[in-house]
């Protein structure tokens, strides 16, 4: 039984995007997720364009003792801190820091974790055992303690913080990737690929990973959120980004002493952290919902 066929035409391959389009379509339906996305986009814009509007040395870290501890006013939207620095400018600049650290950490953890998880999941057996036991060692330690230990050993500063944050997250990515791969590798289309002699590398890259991307991406957005929180936490206890860099966590820490009379110094960084983390969580949840029921098909 043949259906209507047309004479041979060369159709350009454009359709690859349609899967992304349908995921986007599902995502769009989720109002909360879209809200989160909107906020995140605003944050990114702020991070990107703040460099054009603010001069780092004068406005962000430049001290002005005459203007210290002023409450929010038309001149200083968020007030000034104990060094006379405009809090608003510092919060804005802090967006850069937080997003950069979040992105970089996740990128590093995701790529390393994916390689480890992919190898462990695909080959199984001893490879799996060895790799996963190493991952277990890292997982056994509470994330914060591990991060503190690493930074404590290497010293504070942005690079070491990044390293500490990434190392904590590699095992979690590795696990997710590994279980995705285990569930996919038993499927018949993988057998089909093997039946024509496809080599392992191609199977992993072409057949397995594209199907495993879903949970990985969701995990990535959620990890960005926890990273921002984690860095803020480290900075709060003095082990993170050093002064005078306006990282939100360290701003919070510095505001501890002024908490009684200048509560705004704590409120603004706190709210900034909350907004960033919330938006990423909403996006992550929205992505998970958009990807999951569709993948069931």
């Amino acid at each position: 039984m043949t259906e209507q066929t047309n004479p041979v035409k060369k159709i350009k391959k454009v359709k690859k995007r349609s899967q992304l389009k349908s995921i986007w379509f599902q995502f769009k339906k989720n109002k909360l997720a879209m809200f989160g996305l909107l906020i995140f986009v605003v944050l990114v814009m702020i991070a990107v364009f703040s460099g054009f509007f603010l001069d780092y040395d004068t406005q962000v870290i430049g001290q002005n003792m005459k203007e210290r501890l002023r409450p929010p006013s038309s001149q200083h939207l968020f007030g000034t801190d104990q060094y006379g620095r405009d809090v608003f400018a510092r919060i804005i600049w802090g967006t850069r820091i937080s997003l950069f650290v979040g992105l970089f950490t996740v990128a590093l953890a995701m790529s390393t974790g994916t390689i480890i998880g992919a190898l462990a999941g695909y080959y199984g057996g001893r490879t799996d055992n060895v790799l996963m036991r190493i991952m277990d060692v890292f997982l056994a330690m509470p994330g914060t303690i591990l991060a503190v230990a690493i930074v404590g050993a290497l010293g504070p500063g942005i690079v070491n913080v990044l390293l500490a944050m990434s190392i904590c997250r590699i095992p979690q990515f590795a696990r997710i990737v590994r279980s995705s791969i285990i569930s996919i590798r038993g499927q018949e289309f993988i057998e089909a690929a093997k039946a024509c002699g496809t080599k392992d590398r191609r199977i992993i890259l072409r057949h397995i990973l594209p199907n495993a991307i879903g949970p990985i991406v969701v995990q990535a957005t959620l990890h960005m959120a926890t990273t921002i929180l984690g860095v803020a936490g480290l900075s709060f206890i003095g082990l993170g980004i050093e002064a005078p860099i306006p990282e939100w966590g360290s701003m919070l820490s510095a505001a501890k002493s002024q908490m009684r009379y200048q509560p705004y110094l704590m409120i603004f960084p706190g709210v900034a952290i909350m907004i960033a983390v919330l938006s990423l969580n909403l996006i992550g949840d929205g992505l998970r919902d958009a990807l999951d029921p569709r993948m069931k098909n």
């Binding site: 043949t2 066929t5 391959k13 018949e188 057998e191 039946a195 024509c196 496809t198 057949h207 098909n297």
Partner: protein, 295 residues
């Protein structure tokens, strides 16, 4: 665990060997062993006289072009992230039988036409199509390397009755046009009779009977074959209200089986000799083999 144990059979070029049995009988495993998707622990697989189990990896790669497989599940056997044309083109790209993208695309269109898939589906994803069309994609993929031998692992079991008929007709047409040899694995006796010239009946990894298709149905010998035949519900009223021998019990475990016939636990004719030692396949008439102490 003994998935497949001491199975002997042969398929002639251009014919279809039906492999029949219920779950746990090892028929799917057998199919995969024959094309070396699974590695056998013992035995030989002779293709045109040569034992492919001893082939090196390079030689096996060449061999794979001649031996292909169609899977049962039209949902799980296709990569959900690849379009129809990508799925069909994949074997060609892997084995490099064609390298120019235009040539590959042309071959894809050709294959789609052969299996009855309209052109417009070339860039759709599997989940957008129904089971029958997906199975056609699987068939097109199996044909992509111009094989001589195809293992069909329950290719129509997951399809609706009218689609089953369409796909079976397609498989039979292809066999005629291209001189293909099939190993057709199924649990559905009426389907296997329709498409096979010869049939092997399996139970718990053992071959219990094999014969020409017509002969097996007219003159079944092994008690299990008889049980299977009497268990199939027939779509007419001839057997209504007749007391039938319904076989009792469940399939026993394939782990550490006792020697001898594995059907003995459920067989109405079982004797102690049945589990004393392994029972070889005996040729009781031309081309008709049975493994049972009754013969």
């Amino acid at each position: 665990m003994h998935a497949v144990d001491g199975v002997n059979f042969a398929v002639e070029k251009g014919k279809t060997l039906g492999v029949v049995g219920e779950s746990g009988c090892g028929k799917s495993t057998l199919g995969r062993l024959v094309i070396r998707l699974l590695e056998a622990t013992e035995g030989k697989v002779l293709y045109s006289g040569e034992n492919i189990l001893s082939y090196s990896d390079e030689k096996m790669l060449e061999m794979r072009k001649k031996m292909q497989i169609i899977f049962q599940d039209p949902y799980a056997s296709l990569n959900p992230r690849m379009t129809v044309s990508e799925i069909i083109a994949e074997p060609i790209k892997v084995c490099r039988t064609l390298t120019k993208p235009d040539d590959i695309l042309e071959k894809v269109y050709e294959l789609m036409e052969t299996v009855g898939l309209a052109d417009r589906f070339v860039n759709t994803y599997p989940h957008e199509l129904d089971g029958g069309r997906r199975q056609r994609i699987g068939i097109a993929r199996a044909l992509a390397l111009d094989p001589e031998f195809i293992v069909c692992d329950e290719p129509v079991s997951a399809l609706d009755v009218s689609i089953q008929a369409q796909v079976l007709n397609l498989l039979m047409d292809l066999q005629e046009e291209r001189g293909l040899t099939y190993m057709f694995i199924t649990h559905n006796l009426s389907v296997v009779k329709h498409i096979s010239s010869e049939i092997v009946v399996m139970y718990l990894g053992q071959c219990v009977e094999s014969a020409q298709s017509d002969e097996l149905f007219e003159d079944p010998k092994h008690p299990y074959t008889n049980a299977l035949l009497s268990a199939i519900p027939v779509p007419n009223l001839s057997r209504r209200n007749k007391r039938r021998e319904v076989i009792r019990g469940e399939v026993t475990s394939p782990i550490n089986p006792k020697p001898g016939c594995r059907f003995a636990a459920r067989c109405p004719y079982a004797k102690p000799e049945c589990t004393a030692a392994d029972i070889p396949l005996k040729e009781i008439s031309k081309g008709h083999f049975v493994s049972c102490i009754l013969y």
